[in-house]
């Protein structure tokens, strides 16, 4: 029995998403990434003596919207608490967060794997809190401990965060990956977060434990931090699970601790000493009143919710007959889904549209490092037009690849490309027959083989004919006519 068959993996994720409000959560400073250090600050977000927090209602709007999209119950009464700890990036030495009365609780989201299987994962809570500043350590060795000086940039201090805590419902790193993708898709659909991991607007910590299959009690959990991409989350979980299984097999006790993922070394390391038993001394924030959220307000926000990723994917399956996997990929972001729908409608060829978008277009974008489909020169109209050319046999699928390449680079109209490059498909039987005759004449041995029963060699002949026609001959016609000529 392999270890994976022996031990069940239990994973819960804590996702921190920066909310894309205009201003910070407790002051009027701009909430923007990338400005010069310490320019978006004020007495409030610097925690200067005498300053007081004032809650930004747009944060509530975004949190409620995200909570609803994650199928949570929104609390009519919620409050802020102080989480006390010392660190130079936290100017008040406490973080205003929500402890026992979060804004949203008891939600779920569904994930769909490559096989199209659906799984429901619980969400414990979503709460609002302020982000900390950013530390920059001036160090020659790269080690914080050797830093001669450390600088603090408080621009990020006070940026609103939604912390989303899942139930320990995930059973593999793949589940975790799909969960994160689903959370990201939902937060982007609802336009509450940019979810940009590079800019740190989406961060994730994982609680990982293992237990023998059949055991109800959860194993000792290890918290893994510092994973800065979805792929790293997957890798870190796999590493950590393997480490824990090896320990369990060796009879070693797994200790509850926080470990840091080191992407370079592809390992997790204990944060020994730093963590310990942290006592955050939570207590209700006396500077802010209880937050009351009316049913009416919640309903207004409910009405703002767009069609969510999974609903859209299900519609794509039923409306366009797409496979579950395609539907999942195409609905990961609204602009992509919109692009697909336009092409599918204009071309009336949904499956063909999906193939071209998921295959050629996304590959091309990936290659070019382009993340924004709206910036791509191949507009839905142009792609649909090209698909139309394939459909009416003006060009073959193969020729279309050439047309697409050109279109992606130049943004030119597909018909124009076909015309200018002389790529129109040859459907004239006579012209094709001429080519076939030429190829037959050039390959007597193979012709003999085919006639002798080795039908597989037909492929070679077709290839030669297509090559001779510079790819322009209609493949169906070539096949038909060749068969006729060789009498097979």
């Amino acid at each position: 029995m392999s270890l994976k068959e022996k031990y069940e993996i239990v994973i819960g994720l804590e996702v921190h998403a920066e909310l894309n409000t205009k201003t910070k959560i407790f002051c009027g400073c701009k909430n923007e990434f990338g400005a010069e250090a310490n320019t978006y600050v004020c007495p409030n977000c610097l925690g200067l003596p005498g300053s007081l927090p004032v809650f930004n209602k747009q944060v509530l709007h975004h949190a409620v919207k995200a909570g609803l999209a994650l199928n949570c119950t929104i609390a009519h009464k919620s409050k802020f608490d102080r989480k006390n700890y010392y660190y130079p990036d936290l100017p008040k030495a406490y973080q205003i967060s929500q402890f026992d009365m979060p804004i949203a609780v008891k939600g779920y989201l569904d994930i769909v794997n490559k096989q199209g299987e659906k799984k429901r994962l619980g969400i414990t809570r979503l709460h609002m809190e302020e982000d900390a500043g950013k530390l920059i350590h001036l160090t020659k060795t790269g080690q914080i401990a050797d830093a001669e000086e450390s600088l603090v940039d408080y621009n990020r201090g006070g940026v609103p965060l939604a912390e989303i805590v899942s139930e320990p419902d995930m059973r593999s790193s793949e589940d975790a990956y799909l969960y994160l993708s689903a959370v990201k898709a939902i937060l982007k659909y609802t336009n509450v977060s940019d979810c940009n991991m590079e800019e740190g607007s989406l961060r994730c910590d994982a609680n990982i434990s293992i237990r023998p299959f059949g055991q109800e009690k959860l194993g000792v959990k290890v918290e893994v931090k510092n994973m800065n991409s979805f792929n790293n989350v997957r890798k870190a979980i796999d590493y950590e699970v393997e480490r824990q299984m090896q320990m369990a097999e060796a009879g070693e006790a797994i200790i509850q601790e926080t470990r840091l993922w080191d992407a370079g070394k592809a390992k997790t390391f204990s944060m020994r000493g730093k963590e310990g038993a942290h006592d955050y001394r939570y207590f209700p924030e006396p500077d802010l009143p209880i937050l009351e959220t009316s049913a009416e307000y919640i309903n207004t926000i409910k009405a703002e919710l767009p069609e969510l990723p999974l609903q859209k994917a299900e519609r794509f399956i039923s409306q366009y007959g797409l496979p579950a996997y395609d539907a999942g990929v195409l609905t990961s972001e609204i602009p992509l889904a919109d692009y697909f729908e336009k092409v599918a409608k204009l071309s009336a060829e949904p499956k063909l549209s999906s193939n071209w978008i998921m295959g050629d277009l996304l590959a091309k974008m990936n290659e070019a490092g382009e993340a924004d489909i709206e910036k791509v020169k191949v507009t839905p109209e142009k792609l649909a037009k090209m698909l139309g050319l394939i459909k009416n046999a003006t060009i073959s699928g193969k020729i279309a690849k050439t047309v697409f390449e050109d279109m992606y680079a130049t943004g030119n109209d597909p018909e124009q490309i076909v015309k200018e490059k002389g790529l129109v498909q040859i459907t004239d039987t006579k012209a094709i027959e001429e080519v076939i005759d030429k190829v037959i004449a050039a390959n007597p041995a193979i012709v003999a083989e085919i006639k002798g029963g080795k039908v597989q060699a037909m492929g070679f002949m077709t290839g030669q004919i297509m090559k001779e026609s510079k790819g322009k001959a209609n493949p169906q016609l070539v096949n038909e006519l060749l068969k006729k000529k060789l009498g097979v």
């Binding site: 007495p43 003596p49 005498g50 007081l52 102080r82 006390n84 010392y86 130079p88 001394r281």
Partner: protein, 486 residues
């Protein structure tokens, strides 16, 4: 009579009649400061340059008769825990020595808008922790009535300055009695408004759920003028209340016929100084003569108030003071070897003894395992204390109690014994936990000629009721007009 001896009302009249200029008042006040502050030590910082600029602005307004308010040209002293942009604001704490805030507290903006003149920053107990001003990191303030005694605290500088005529009025702040108790010990009129009545923005926090800024003045009428100008909802303070502010002075009454005054039994106990008891009795007689109805009431949870306060207030303080860590501003020990060491050493050197005591106490009661037993339980009892008052105010309009169980004590007498010191605020703590408005007004002197004060309480946002009752008393008596001889 010298200008420095006069009230806001009197000076305002003289200013608008163009008999005097703001500069004349300021000259007079600073002359007085120069003459007596070396004995009283109320001022931490005299802001002469700023004051004369403000006086010039006020004069301009008076000349043009534009934007003239009752406070235009009136010299006002400030407790040193209210931020004033560019002016050292220290909380009388070594940790913040030389700290110049980059912004101004809402109350000070309001006073500036009214045309007031800021004379300087007044001494206090470090971070407002104390009842004697002995906990100031810099020096103690002396009671103008007896220089060997304390002025009370924590707003001791604010009380002493008004009492010794070193400003016409001052601002103090009150958490457990820090305006009312020193007002009582120095014989001035001190008001702690309802929690939420005055913005706390820019007030360096002690205990956020209790802190409130209030005026300290020579008369009730001056106090009504001051409160009108500093009260009101503030978009920068989410705990400030958007409740209509009466025109206190215009609406003020001098008669109390039919007014129901409650005497809480629990506040007239053994251990109160004899003369204080007698002064209360005399005050009650004054009110009776004026036609008030005296009613006995009970506030059953009174005994727990000090205990509750010394859980809640230090808990909030421990968190509020965590920001003084040497990172951004204030004292930093540069010899520290690493980050943790920097925190430890900076805080060890920057904080005084009482501050450390309260931080430790607050940290303890918030610690996991103790939170339920102390902090949470204290909040429950706090709710019961508030309920007691709610019930009492169904039967009466005003509650009358002593402000402090004793008159002023000698410097050093209680500073070694924090528990005895904490009891100085035994009568002011409970109403503060309930967020009630409360005023201390002079009502007599003991055998040593030390002032006695009484506390008048009303229901939340019932400030006008207090002004009325207190004003009637000051009409009928002259305790408030007496000044110390220094």
């Amino acid at each position: 009579m010298e200008l420095y001896q006069q009230t806001i009302e009197e000076l305002h009249k003289a200013l608008t009649e163009k008999k005097i200029k703001p500069k004349d008042i300021l000259d007079s006040v600073y002359q007085r400061v120069d003459a007596v502050d070396h004995k009283v030590k109320a001022y931490l910082l005299v802001t002469k340059e700023l004051a004369y600029t403000m006086a010039a602005t006020a004069e301009d307004r008076l000349m043009k008769n534009e934007n003239v308010t009752e406070l235009t040209g009136i010299p006002i002293g400030l407790k040193d825990n209210m931020c004033l942009e560019g002016v050292p604001t220290t909380c009388a704490a070594k940790m913040l020595a030389g700290y110049r805030p980059p912004y101004t507290a809402t109350v000070l903006k309001k006073l500036t808008a009214a045309g007031a003149v800021f004379t300087g920053k007044l001494n206090m107990d470090e971070y407002a922790f104390g009842s004697s001003t002995e906990n100031s990191s810099f020096f103690p303030t002396h009671n103008p009535w007896d220089l060997e005694r304390v002025p009370g605290g924590s707003s001791g500088g604010s009380a002493a300055a008004v009492s010794a005529d070193m400003c016409i009025a001052s601002l103090g702040s009150d958490t457990g009695g820090s305006i009312k108790q020193p007002a009582s010990l120095c014989s001035v009129t001190g008001f702690k408004p309802t929690y939420g009545r005055v913005s706390r923005y820019g007030l360096i926090a002690f205990a956020s759920s209790l802190d409130q800024i209030g005026p300290m003045t020579k008369t009730v009428r001056d106090n009504a003028i001051m409160l009108k100008h500093i009260a009101g909802a503030d978009e920068n303070d989410s705990t400030s209340a958007a409740i209509n502010i009466p025109n206190y002075l215009k609406d003020i009454k001098t008669d109390v016929k039919g007014l129901r005054i409650g005497l809480p039994e629990e506040y007239f106990i053994d251990g109160i100084q004899k003369e204080v008891k007698e002064a209360m009795q005399a005050a009650i007689e004054v009110y009776k003569k004026l036609g008030a109805q005296i009613v006995k009431v009970n506030l059953l949870h009174t005994d727990y108030a000090v205990d509750v306060y010394y859980v809640v207030a230090p808990a909030e303080a421990s968190s509020n003071l965590a920001r003084f860590d040497g990172v951004q501003y204030g004292l930093r020990d540069t010899a520290a070897q690493n980050m943790i060491d920097m925190y430890k050493r900076s805080r060890q050197q920057g904080f005084g003894k009482e501050t450390k005591r309260r931080i430790m106490l607050g940290t303890y009661v918030l610690s996991s395992g103790y939170y339920e037993a102390y902090y949470k339980k204290a909040q429950k009892v706090r709710a019961l204390i508030k309920q007691d008052f709610d019930e009492a105010f169904k039967k009466v309009d005003i509650l009358l109690t002593p402000t402090s169980p004793t008159t002023s004590f000698k410097i050093g007498e209680k500073s070694g014994d924090p528990l005895t010191m904490y009891l100085s605020d035994i009568f002011t703590i409970a109403p503060n936990l309930a967020g009630l408005p409360g005023m201390s007004i002079p009502c007599g002197f003991d055998e040593k000629n030390l002032p006695i004060g009484m506390q008048l309480l009303a229901k939340p946002f019932g400030e006008q009721d207090i002004f009325n009752a207190a004003n009637a008393f000051q009409y009928a008596t002259d305790w408030h007009t007496r000044r110390p001889k220094i």
